[in-house]
Amino acid sequence: MTQENQQNKPDLDWQEMSSLWQQDGFANDLNMDQLATSIKRKALQMKMMLALEWLISLVGVIVGLLVYLKYDSLFETAVGIVTIAASLFMGWFGYKNRRNTWQAKDETFSAMVDLSIKRAKAAISYAKMNLYTAPMAIIFVKLAYDHRSKDFDTMAPEKASNLQMLFGLAMVFIVAAVIWSIWYWVRNKRNLNYWLEIKGQLTEK
């Protein structure tokens, strides 16, 4: 048999394997109705979570605006602006984060892998930014505390303890944000390595 004849010969082994494969052997257990219900439920849950995040952001913006408009001092104005900015950022980040899960872009597999690498890098940058701004946030909270405590210590000692608790909570929040950022950094570093490995496998000759 010539080489040409061999090439034209129907790939019977492969056809057999292909028909065997398409027997739906792995799909027999699928309950389609249950699957559809479950997917609709999950989609609804995701939308509700996003709506909740936006609601919290909106409340944050309103509170920030009230503080900004009600008080005249530099400190309250700064608190108002920071609250508004943080709330808007939270709303935007929630949307951006979920959009990736909601919408699988119409791209090739390789493009999806590239996108995952970009996402992991962006997430690492975000974690770094959080970590680098944490010392500044601590300094800001400390200065704000010193500034306000001067008024309260002598004029209203009972409010001083409330103020101390408030700033203590702010510090706890910052420390928690630092811990979360480290975890987020490590996790995304691992993700980045994984996707880079996949990319490496795909581009292997």
Binding site: L20, G25, A27
Partner: protein, 160 residues
């Protein structure tokens, strides 16, 4: 867009479940992965441009989600030994020869390196070389080379 989830499940549920089975051996996790893929497909339809067929689109999302699933479950085994992946409770003797072959095929596909596994899965699903290249973002030549290697490897192990 006009696509209903029920229709997508009916048309592509089996395809997705077979691709999912090449990434996840645990039947429970497999079902979760199928759900995840279907969710991504359904919600991604708003950005589906229709340049390629819906089948190709579904397959590429299934592969992407499969790889992502492995990333998130990398501490768990990626595949199980042949006997563990058989229908639970069934004795080996009672399983039809065809079913055994199918399980062996699945087991062998799982053991292929990722680039070959993806190509092999799509080829077994009846995708043409051009569709495989479109789906995975390969050049037609590259897809053909990988397909030949995958076929040769599978034929060799299946004939043993």
């Amino acid at each position: 867009m006009g696509y209903q989830i029920d229709q997508i499940i009916a048309d592509y549920g089996p395809l997705i479940s077979r691709i999912a089975a090449t990434y996840e051996a645990d039947p429970v996790e497999q079902k979760d992965l199928v759900q995840e893929v279907l969710l991504a497909v359904w919600q991604g339809l708003s950005v589906f441009k229709g340049e390629a067929s819906l089948k190709t689109y579904v397959a590429r999302i299934a592969h992407y989600r499969g790889v992502d699933h492995v990333r998130r479950h990398s501490n768990k085994p990626k595949s199980q030994p042949l006997d563990d992946s058989l229908v639970s409770g069934a004795k080996l003797e009672e399983i039809a020869d065809k079913n055994l072959k199918l399980q062996k095929l699945l087991s062998e596909v799982r053991q292929l390196p990722l680039p070959l596994r993806q190509v092999a899965t799509l080829a077994l699903e009846g995708f043409e070389a051009r569709e495989i290249a479109d789906s995975l973002g390969l050049t037609p030549n590259n897809a053909a080379v990988r397909l030949n290697r995958a076929k040769a490897t599978l034929k060799e192990v299946m004939s043993k």
